[in-house]
């Protein structure tokens, strides 16, 4: 009997789980599919235009950073996810130059200049959104006008006449979120704590609870943003930071629109992430010596 007798040396563990980071990013993008379908039904050409400009400029700036040497991958799935997510969070009718400039900030500055993938400090999508408020102050006005109407009555899960694509269907975002939880890409606790604390706080502050929680962008923040790499890595830290984000959103919702409150709340809480990562595992966690 002839057997293969020599093998190359290797360090344990000798088997690995069959998944990859790219696969996870693809699945995150897949979770946005229901929202895309609903938007294509109501705003076919406009949605395609937004997606085309954000994804095309995303890959353009990614390729530029690849040529400059601070991006490892020629085709980065995370860039696809970032620009795809971004196209759902900008107002319909945004001029193409504003999209390109915001995506430049998201992909080139916020993501690749900081080291890509897990190294960015501020959530690239929301950083780009914050910059869009500066590029296009009139878009903030349109949010304000829209919220003046929408807060007065409860819309439910389908609202075709909204300002941004994410708000068209909260149900579609929820479906995507359930898919993420089912595939264990996102722990169920973080969105739950985020939404529950948002509910409780907005009720205490006397705001319209359903009008805040059942909005597509809040749900996108719950499932895609507060669970991602810019939030603390510790699962307990993620819950803490999501509660902090909810507090900031409710406080800022007094004077700002909800769109701005979510954006600034997430970005402010991202700044606290290194602090939570540094001290949480040792100071506040019960350690068996």
């Amino acid at each position: 009997m002839k057997l293969k007798k020599t093998f190359s040396p290797a360090a344990p563990p000798h088997w690995r789980a069959h998944h990859s980071s790219e696969m996870r990013f693809w699945l995150f993008s897949l979770a946005l599919l229901p929202l895309l379908v609903v938007n294509l039904i109501f705003h076919f050409t406009e949605m395609l235009r937004l997606i085309f400009f954000s994804i095309a400029s995303g890959f353009f700036f990614d390729y530029v950073s690849f040529l400059l040497g601070f991006q490892r991958f020629r085709f980065d799935t995370h860039t696809l996810l970032t620009s795809f997510l971004f196209s759902f969070l900008i107002p319909f009718g945004t001029p193409f130059w504003a999209i390109v400039a915001a995506v430049f900030l998201a992909v080139f500055v916020a993501k690749n200049c900081f080291g890509g993938w897990g190294n960015f400090i501020f959530q690239p999508v929301f950083l780009a959104r914050a910059s869009l408020f500066i590029f296009l102050p009139e878009s903030v006005e349109s949010f304000r006008e829209f919220e003046a109407i929408s807060n007065s009555f409860f819309h439910g899960f389908f609202e075709p006449h909204t300002v941004i694509a994410a708000n068209v269907s909260a149900l579609a975002v929820l479906l995507g979120g359930i898919f993420l939880i089912e595939r264990r890409l996102v722990s169920w606790k973080v969105p739950c704590f985020f939404l529950l604390s948002l509910c409780g706080l907005s009720y205490v502050m006397g705001q319209n609870v359903a009008g805040i929680v059942l909005r597509g962008e809040i749900l996108i923040a719950a499932f895609f943003i507060v669970t991602d790499a810019a939030s603390p890595i510790h699962s307990f830290g993620k819950i803490l930071s999501s509660i902090g984000t909810a507090v900031l959103i409710v406080f800022m919702n007094h004077s700002l629109t909800t769109v701005e409150a979510v954006t600034y709340g997430v970005l402010m809480m991202n700044g606290v992430t290194p602090l939570i990562d540094r001290y949480l595992p040792n100071r506040f966690v019960w350690v068996k010596k």
Binding site: P12, H14, W15, S20, S235
Partner: protein
Amino acid sequence: MKIFRQDIRFDDYKDLSLSTITFKRASLPDEIQVYLQQHQGHPAIPVVHQGDHVEAGAVLAVAQGDFSAHVHSSISGKVSLATSEWIRVESDGSEDSGSFLKEVKSWRDVSREEILSGIFDAGIVGMGGEGFPAYFKIKNAEKKGSLLIINGCESEPFLTSDYFLMVSRATEIIYGAELLLKASGREKCIIAVEDNKLEAIELLLSKARALHVKNMEVKTLPARYPQGSEAELIRSLSRSKALGAGVPLIHNVATAFAVYEAVRYKKPLIERMVTVTGHCVVEPKNLWCRIGTPASHLVQNCKGFLRDPIRVIFGGPMSGLAITNLDTPIIKATRGIVALAPEFSGEGEEKPCTRCGLCLNVCPEELSPELLIRVIQKENGALAKEFRLSSCTECGNCTFICPSKIPIQKILKIGKTNLLHESFPQSFQAPVDGISQVVLG
């Protein structure tokens, strides 16, 4: 505290080697190679010369002090080569290895000292994989606690040798645990078994009842990796409030069986149960093997390879040692030989970390591997101490789960030696890999 605990769960493929009801004795090898340091501590000193004729069970090398163990020949034959590191014995073809056994008549009434000397004379070491000399372990743990744990967890995937031993030799294991209890002076004994080995639990419970043993309890623990490691075992038992005062003494079920044989029959540790398994082996099964048998001989006992494995592992795929040559002999602590099929290795290019947090969720010690890697890269010893790098048990969960294929465990091990200056006990594993190179070229 982890508010919600996430466990790592994978297919354990234990059913591969469970298809045969009884275990078989492996056929007689042409020659054995016995390494003189197949245990932690000091190597044994050879007492035979080249050309000597040895019987099965004869002492080949004597222990160098307490923190060491005797090494015996598992076949009868001629010593063809004897160096200070290993001894090769060529078989003379006589299969009989039971002639040297002599039963001690009143073995249940032997004194504590006699048990201890029996354990020492038989050269028993921890057979769960760590290879710590049993005599030294018992001596060291004297008057330090009240609990003895017999570890029958075997949480490593693929391996079933302890399970088979518990099913086929339950009475002997209980007697062995009783002897260990007497030798260590502990008050209570817990046999811990994972809940995927119901047959073994039932058998141990019914035998313990039938034999009227006192101070013994069979405890069912949830099946999850790494339940079999000492730290996790203690944690699980302390969670169910079964842990008494002091430090518990932990021995493997295979060690308990060896102790029983050593005390009752004066049989040295020359044989053990080894699982030969993996998707590449034609007939995976458990074999009762002589220590020193080359792995290739055991694979041939299982009708060879179906296809070429990507690697052959001594121990389980999570924490075992990949051998570079199939003629490497098995040692006292080898629990199994796993021929891993190429589709399981799941290796890929190393990618940057995405901070997904999976490594933190699966760490049984609740460490932060992602942070520790950064600390090690910056060579910050104080921070490594603060993030409890020293309590890493190298279970390999973080590396298994990492979607970016970062060799986390390797980096943590480098950090442990470089930053904490930990002197690891001389492991039996590395030299065995060395021996195959010495022997074969």
